[in-house]
Structures are given as C-alpha cells and as structure tokens.
Assembly symmetry: C2
C-alpha cells in the first residue's frame, strides 16, 4: 500500500474503526451519561492499558536510553510564570462570534469550513447547512484558488482574517453577521488559595499549564546541578496539558485535556550536537521542507539525517538526532512508514518561542495530523524566566584548550567625574561599568575623534563626557570556560493523538468467509498491546479450572497482563473478541490439555496455533512480547495445530 492507497483505506474505514473503538471502550466522551463534555475523553480499559504501554515504551526509548532527567511538575501554574513565558499574551486563537446569538467560532477553522462548503457547491455537492456555501464572492474564485486560500487560512494574521471576512461578506452559518476577529486565550484560568475569594488580586490567578515544558525551564538550575553541572543534557516530562479549545472536534485529535510527553534538550546555542548522533545519522526520513511547501508542492524527500544536515535541510545534528529517534519510536509503535512524514513549519507558522520546527505528521482518516513537534526554542524561555526572576539561568562549558580573549574596559578619572557630575556621578559609573563591547568601542571612537561625547542616562538625564574623564584600554585574559544561556531543542509528543493514530494504523479487516461474516480487529504490536494474553477454557467445565489457574499464576510471575474469558460463547467468537481489543496471544485449555498438560497458543494476526506444555507457555509469551523470539521462529519449532474438538 502506498501513501495514497493508505489515505483511501483510512477514509473508507473511518466509521467502522471508530465504531469498534467506542464499542470496545478504547475511549469515549467523558461524562456521557451527563450528555458529555466537549473536548474531554476518557480511556476505557483497552485504551488506558495501551496508553500505559506507550508511556513505558516512550520512557524506555527516550528517557532511559539517553539518561534524561525525568521530572514531574505541577499542572497549576502561577500567572507570573506564564506571563514571562509569553503564554498570557500570545497563547491565543483568533475567534469570531455570531453577533446575534453569541455562538463562538475559531476563525481559521471556521473559514476553512466555509471554503470547503463553497468548493463542494462548485463541485455540485450541495448537502450543507451553512448559508455561506453559496457565497458569491468565494464562488467566483473557483476551486483551485479556494484550495490555495484554504491552506493559508491557518497562518493568517488578525488583520488578514478581518479583511477576508469583510471583503467576502462571510456570515455565521445561519446568516448572522460575525464580530471582528479577536484573540481568545486558550488557557484555563482559576484561582488558588482562600484569599482570592475574599480580596481578589493578580497573585492568586493561576492557569492549568498549556505545555509541560515550563516546569522544566523553571527548574533548569536544579537540573543542571543534578547533572553535575555537565552540558549538554536533556530533561523530560510525561504529564497533562490543558487547552480551552474554541471548537474541539475530531475525536482524540483536538481536545481540551491531553497527555503530553516532552523532552527539553539543553545544548550550547552555537554547537547543537548530540553525543549519540553518529549512531542514528543513517536513519532515512520522509521530509517535507519549508522550501518545497513554499513552491506549493507536497512531494516528500527521502534522505538520511546525515544527508539532510549536509544539504542544509535540517539545521543541526541535535535536531536531526531527535527526528531520527522519533521516527524509530513511531515505527516501534506500529505507525506505517508510508503514513509518516516530517514537515517543517513555514516561517509564519511557528509558536512564539520557536525559530525552527519540524512536525512528525501521521496520515489519518482526517488527513495528515501533527503528532510530534520538534521545535528549536533557542534560549527564548530560559532568557524570559531569567529576566522575570532576576536569576541566572546559565550553564558553563570548559573550552578544550583555554583561550585568550581581548576585552575593552574603561578607565576613569574618578575625581574629575565626581567633581563634574556631583551626586549624579554614581549613575554614570554604573552605565560605564555595564557597557557592551560594541558600546565601548563606539564611545572610544567618539572620544578619540571629537574629544567628547554625550551619554544618555534616560529620564532626560544626559552626561557630556570628555577625553580627560575617560579612556578605554584593551585587556587580554585567559579563559577556561564559557558561560552561556543554553538553547533548547524540544521534541513534544501528543500522546492522545499518537494513540489514535496507532489504532487507525492497526485496524484490520478479515474478509467474510463461508460460515463467518467479516470481522475487524486491531493488530497492535505485542510490545504495546493493552493486554498480552487471553486465557480461554474451552467450555465452562470445572475440569479446565486447575490448568487455567496454573497458567494464571505463571503469568503473574512474568508480570504479564491477561484476561480470562470463560463465557459460554464459542471459541471462535471468543477469539474474535480478544482480537477486537488487540490481544496478541490466546492460550486455550481444551480436552487434550486435561489429559496431557498441553495447551494451545494462537497468534492474533496469522490466526495460527501451536500446542505446547502449559508449564512453558508464559515464558514463551514473555519472549514473544519482549521480542526475544518471533511467531515465525515459534512455528518453525512447533507444528501448527489446527482445531480444538468441542
């Protein structure tokens, strides 16, 4: 299956897949007996078990593999922290409201919908309840132009959105006028402590964090110390994030409360390398760089990380390292390679803190969606928190060899300065002590030239400084280490989205056969399967109980999760049920078992069975889960078993 065939397959199976996932309670709308709550989802038993498995795999693949410092920080975050990080001012979406009934719409998504409606009208499809579907101005543009505009809407400025709505006379779906677009902050706000209820006040305003990253940034100094002061290093966090989305939709894809897994890799801003880069530079990625998109194209470029870096497609080794690691992780999760691409953000598309960003996008029934962001946040956040708290958030790194640096430093005639400027002279000295090298050079130039210069101290205060008060000299010094504010490379995973993608990519259909209708199931990889094994007594006869209990105890010892299905349903029906929740192996105790102590193991995807001693079944399944052995190997060592007598 190539990418376009996969896209078609996913679309075709969208509804049956979703039905299976809801029916088997992988997830559901939260509080649905109360009518549900938009944008909130609960994971039921198979979905939650899958989530736990993915968390553990992520921890193993990223945190343990790279000795990252894992932390767990508060969701509740004070105003001052998110003010400094820029989220209070800039973590917004543009919103428009129906001026008559007050309904709210996220501007970009609403305009995308409207354009889609108009395109449908032009194509002769007419089923829509949005009055804009026959918008004359838009219809004039034609499908090709509309498609281009639709792709741009997400990055439009407030002014552009306003202009677009006005010029094209776009209304609410029922024809009412729309308000001007305005930014709506997406953070949930609450107050902490009892005092607020009494007196109010900005100090007690808190938000639910929109990302886990800030908790890591504010702990930077302690983390660096935990790492023995060594740079570079990474910290990571798996935890909840919250966004008060204007219009949540698309199931698990745009929600208001979600699990994130974020890595913050702190590195020298001018030397963005990674110690294990060489182990992964050969990984081949499907890339969609900014340049390609600017040409209006979407052809993927397949190249190794090393090539991409050499050709300047990927900016640095650290970024390349994490793109490679993410790609390998997604493969372990069962994401199909033809449904994965790495798309670079356009320059007007990035979050307020980033200078470069590559999204791992996965193909779903809703199209390509962002699942992992890889942002280069530069020193943006550490600088912001350092400034807001007047704290040093720096690291230092020894040079391989001590280096000699030249520095221009002022020398004063203190008594002359004192006499001339009286009580103001302290202010002047403070300014001179804090000159940048550039400023110092400029002053020296002016003093050497005209013999005097004017230094502006702000607040209308100016100092006329003359050559006899001040000169500069160049000082050489030997420096062993450099102090700097680290840059940050951030791989950030939306775990809910990933789970949804894994489920869509794992969905399978077994065609109808002679005596059996079509059956659907999820072929989740054994390592992350929600439950590892199903134990099935062939019937509810007591004779099967001792062997089932025996296998159960062994499963406990191996720490394998299992489910016992001793209902009266036929063995075929029960296999179908275990397939539906993605259980990779089923162990059946039948009549032969009672006689000779053997049981059968059935593998989900091939539906093949073998027969082995009950004593060794748990260990074999543990090996299949950990990848020590494969089902292929097992069937080579054991003859296939065909059918239980019933």
């Amino acid at each position: 299956m190539d990418t376009s065939q996969l896209a078609e397959w996913l679309k075709k199976n969208k509804t049956p897949c979703e039905n299976l996932l809801k029916r088997r309670f992988f997830y559901s709308n939260s509080f649905d007996i109360y009518g549900g709550a938009a944008g909130l989802f609960d994971y039921g038993p198979p979905g939650c078990a899958l989530k736990v498995q993915i968390e553990n795999l992520w921890r193993q693949h990223f945190i343990i593999f790279d000795e990252m410092l894992e932390v767990s920080c508060s969701c509740i975050t004070p105003y001052s922290v998110l003010k400094a990080s820029g989220h209070v001012d800039r973590f917004t979406d543009l919103m428009v409201t129906d001026v008559v009934n007050g309904e709210c719409y996220r501007a970009d998504k609403y305009l995308e919908d409207v354009i889609e409606c108009v395109m449908n009208t032009l194509k002769g499809k007419t089923v829509t309840d949005n009055v804009n579907a026959k918008n004359a101005a838009l219809m004039k543009l034609g499908c090709d132009d509309l498609e281009k505009i639709r792709n741009l809407v997400g990055n439009m400025s407030l002014e552009d959105v306003e202009k677009f709505i006005e010029e094209n006379k776009i209304t609410s779906p029922i024809g009412n006028a729309l308000s001007k677009p305005y930014p709506f902050n997406l953070m949930f706000e609450t107050t902490i402590g009892p005092k607020s209820k009494q007196k109010g006040g900005i100090n007690s305003v808190v938000y639910l964090r929109p990302e886990t990253a800030q908790g890591i940034f504010v702990n930077f100094a302690k983390l660096l110390e935990s790492n023995g002061g060594k740079m570079p290093f990474a910290s990571a966090q798996i935890g909840l994030g919250f966004r008060n989305e204007i219009s949540p939709r698309n199931g698990l894809l745009r929600v208001r409360e979600f699990l994130m897994a974020e890595v913050e890799y702190f590195v020298h801003p001018k030397n963005k390398t990674h110690v294990r880069y060489h182990e992964f530079k050969h990984v081949v990625l499907s890339l969609l760089p900014r340049g390609t998109q600017e040409k209006g194209e979407s052809t993927l470029t397949k190249m190794s990380v090393e090539d991409a870096i050499n050709k300047g497609v990927i900016a640095n080794e650290a970024l390349g390292y994490f793109l490679a690691r993410t790609s390998l992780f997604l493969e372990k999760c069962g994401i199909l390679p033809q449904g994965l691409r790495f798309r670079q953000h356009m320059s007007d598309e990035m979050a307020h803190y980033a200078c470069d960003c590559w999204d791992a996008e996965i193909l779903t029934s809703y199209g390509w969606i962002e699942v992992v962001g890889h942002a280069d946040r530069m020193a943006y956040d550490l600088t912001a928190h350092s400034k807001a708290t007047n704290t040093q958030l720096n690291a230092s790194q020894r040079y391989p060899e001590p280096i000699t640096v030249e520095k221009v430093v002022p020398t004063y005639n203190r008594s002359l300065i004192g006499k001339t400027f009286k009580d103001k002279h302290v202010k002047l000295l403070a300014i001179l002590d804090n000159l940048s090298q550039e400023q110092a050079n400029k002053l020296e130039e002016e003093l050497s030239g005209s013999g005097s210069t004017v230094i502006d101290a702000g607040d209308g205060l100016q100092f006329v400084v003359t050559r006899d008060m001040l000169s500069f000299k160049t000082v050489k010094s030997v420096v062993c280490e450099e102090t700097f504010t680290p840059a940050v490379i951030e791989p950030s995973f939306g775990m809910g989205r990933l789970i949804f993608c894994i489920l869509e990519h794992s969905y399978r259909v077994r065609p109808a056969q002679a005596q059996q209708e079509e059956r659907t199931y999820v072929a989740i990889k054994p390592q992350i399967a929600p439950i590892k094994c199903c134990l099935l007594p062939l019937s509810s006869k007591d004779a099967f109980t001792p062997l089932i209990s025996k296998v159960q105890r062994q499963m406990d010892i191996h720490g394998l999760s299992y489910k016992i299905d001793s209902t009266g349903a036929s063995i075929g029906k029960r296999y179908a049920r275990t397939d539906e929740i993605g259980i990779p192996f089923a162990v059946t105790v039948d009549f032969q078992s009672v006689n000779d102590g053997t049981v059968t193991i059935r593998e989900r995807d091939s539906m093949q069975q073998i027969r082995i001693e009950a004593d060794v079944v748990s260990e074999l399944i543990a090996d299949l889960i950990s990848g020590k052995t494969t089902w292929g190997d097992v069937t080579k060592a054991h003859p296939l078993f065909t059918q239980q007598e019933v």
Copy 2:
C-alpha cells in the same frame, strides 16, 4: 526498633532527611525561582523515577494481579457531576478569617495550633507568636483536657466550632477578632469553552476533580459491559486530584495537586466477598478499631484478617481482602511494619459518601498520617448519578438456583376508571403501575377495609378510588437473576504521601569513621529504586570507556536505568553520591577490568563488593532487581572484593 523508638528516630532525623531530599532534588517547591507556590511540588529526577516505579508496582500488585479494569478519565469535571456526587455542597473545610486583615485559616487546624500553643505555655515552653498562647479560658482547662479537645477538633460541627471560638474568646494570632466559621469549598473552579466569557451560565462551570473515583462511577455501565456483565469486578485509576487546601503545609503531606491511585470494587451490597479472599485471609494487620478509640485508647490490636472478620472488627471479606493487599503492598514499598497501622474512622469523621472507613496510617516525623483510605461507599455514588441522569446504573447477578418470588400487581377496571376520571385517568394508571410492594399492600388493605381510598397525585390532584375500580392479586414468578445497585469498596492511595513515607522510612545514617564523616543515604528497595545502577570508571582515563560502553549497552537491553558518574571525584565520594539518591548497585571499571574484563559490583546497604565478568553483570543486576536472586546469595557464590587500586 519498636514503634516509639521509630517515632523518635524519625523526629530526630526530620531535618537532615528533608535536607538530603531537597539537596538531591527528590522534590522541591514548584516555581521556586518565582518565590514558590504554596502547596505545589515538583518531583526532580530521583523523586520522579521513584514515583514511576511505585506506579508500576501498584499497577502490578493491584490492577494486573486482580484483572482490574484500568481507566484514565478527565480531571476537568462538569458542575452537574460534582453536584450530584455531593462535592459541590459538601466537599468543604470550615474556614475562619481575621476580620481586620482578611487572613484565612482552616478552622480545625487553627484551633489545634492554638490548643498546642496553650499546652506549651502550661508546660513552661513560651516560644510562640500566637496571642492565644495565654488564653485564660483554655489555660484553665489544663493539659489533659486540652489534649482530648485537640483530638476532637477535626470532627467538630460548624456550630461547635463557632461556640468554641466564642466561649473561649479565641482571636487571630495577632489578636484580631475572627469571623464566624463558614464552609469553604476545596475544589478549584474554572470555566470551559469560549461561550462562558460572553454569556456566563452554570453549564460551563467546571471543577478540577477532587478524587479520581467519579470518573469510574459515571462510566460504570460501560465498565460492566467491558467485563462481560459479570459481577463483582474492580476498576482502577491512577491520576491527579486537586484540592484548594486553605493552609497547605508539611511538605508533600498536605498539597493542592497530588497523584492518587484508586480502586473501586463493585460488589453485591449484601454479599461483600472477594474471589481471592482465601489466599490472603491469614495476613496479620495492626488494627486500631473505632471501639478502642472511643475509649480514648490507642493500643494496636494485631490479628489476622480472618479473625478480625469473625470478631466483627472488620465488616466484610471484601474490605478485609483489600486491607490485606494494601498491607502487603506497603511492605513491598519498604514501609516498616512497626510504622504501619490501620485505623477505623470514627462515625462522625467519615466523608459524606462513606459508611465505614479504615485508613492505612504510616508513622512519619509529623506523627501518624493517613496514606491509604479504605472506604465502604455503599451504593451512594451510583445511586446519586443514576438519579441525576435518569440512567440505570445497575448490575444483575444470576441466583445459584432460580427462585420463586411473590409480587402483588394491580388489576384495573379500565373502562370505569376512564369514565370516572376522564382525561386525568392516564395519570392515575401511571401511579398504579409504579407502586412499590409496600404501597400496593397498603392500598389493598384500605380497599378491602373501607372499600375506597384516596390517591394523592400531587399538585392538588386527588383520586377517590373504589373497590370496583381496582384490586390486587399476588403473582408468583420464577426469577433467575437479581438486579441491584452495586456497593463500592474503595482503596484510595495518596501517592505523594506514600513517596514521602517511603523516603522517611528508607533514610539511613552511616556513623562517622576514622577518615570519613557521617554519611546519610536512602535505602530504597531495589525493585522501586529510582535508578538501578551507577556505572563508574575509576578515573577519567580513556582506557575505561570501551568497557563502560559495553556494560551500558547491556543495561539498555535489560531495560535497566543507569547513571554514569565519570566525574573526577574519588570513588568513595561517588559511592556516597549514588547512595544519596538510593541507587542500589554500582558497577566500577578499574585497572584490573582493562586487563581481564571483570568489573566490581557494590551493594549500597552492605557496601560489600564482588568482582565478576563484565558480560554477565547486567543480567545479575536484573535478577537482583526482580528478586530472582538476593545479595546474600551473590556473596555466597562470589568472594568479597575489598578495594580498588587507585
């Protein structure tokens, strides 16, 4: 060490232990570069890793062992859900405020403090800055009475608190008058969706959940279906809870955001059993039943679960089962048995939803604190949600044998009723169809007696019903299953508190020796140790690198977390550092290693070392972690190694 010696040891080491934990960043106040946020804590690398280990152990011990249905539900919870559950009205603490400066105090904790101050004054200790320390009315009572009152304050009603403050003229710490006590709701409130900002309205008010349990209750029907309709069963959830504590304090013990792990065991209300009870009925617990406390005593009763149930101390098998399982879990975590007791709640102490509750309390430097609640919530929650949503939240269970039940059902003279009551008759029939057995019997009695009766339909509407309209007959039917609203037994763990207790119980001091000062460390059990192994090259010489890398790769394969300490510090100092963060094993590569490929393993608690082939070291450590082998066995098989050459 007995209980009182342990109490003393914990108090004595409170500050050094806390210093170690903060210094090594097990945890710290959140946002401390911003001045911190009361009641919010971050877990740093060793604390977070410990948390992850405990979560996994909990999942293994409870969820996987008992095939529980794990779910993961939203923290954000609509008003209507928490209104129905009783939390909007009753999840409150009593608060008093200083009427002059608005400072807020949690009433019970404040009165406890005041009483403590007065007791200190009476005992001749005078250091306190609370003017109530010399409160004349309280001083008159004497220490014994004051101590009794202090133990009761937590359960005082609003009226009692008000009376106590008035009668004893208690003021704020600086002598200002206090407000009357009033209930303060502990839930964090926010609004969801964009509309609220425009229009307001009760529907968009949401809270951060105060417990994870409600997410399970509202999903009960789907969970029962996931379990194939079978009762009893348990569902579990590990997730965040939030409480806007009035006065957070005591480090991790009273916080505003915390990790909980809750089990909801759904069981027949009249048959609270558990299928694996017999495996654990012999577990011996230290109990502090209600009766003992009512006598003002605190002597612990040691008895097996079975004995406790037979003697009526523990109410039922299901509750006993979970108390036993909790006790075993805490033991696995390293909680010292003499620092663990199970205390039954007093009847006026329980949460609004519970009819019985046993707390697992652990001895800390702050005294005994509740870490695990085991509440019998009856059918309280399911009934409340069922009523609020008009949904059936029932289960059914087959009787072992079908039973015959008698039921009184009405038979009507429909035409007479229709003629008599005209358009109102439908209302009467609806009432008659929904009579309880009791109501039906009462009506039949009246009709047989006086020949007529009056049925009140509300809204001023009354039906005079006569014998010829209505009679009742007794119908026998064979019933195979019973429908009921399940009762719930809930073990609920405060994971942050547990982590704190584990750390305090694991804290150890190595006495000062000839050339070495006193050293402190945490003897966390290998299975839950934050990091499993430290890899130490004896010096920073390049010769050690290949062997370190080799061991590292093997650690990756075994999924073991490790830390490499290649700093220039002496090997002894580096061992001390690994001890401080609880790493149980250290592998050292020394000069001999380079020659013969062997390395040393050092065990943290005994400080003993052995020397083995580098190739097998990871597997051996994996076996030590999983408990397949013990350090005692290892030292029997290998001679002790004494000292590296440096």
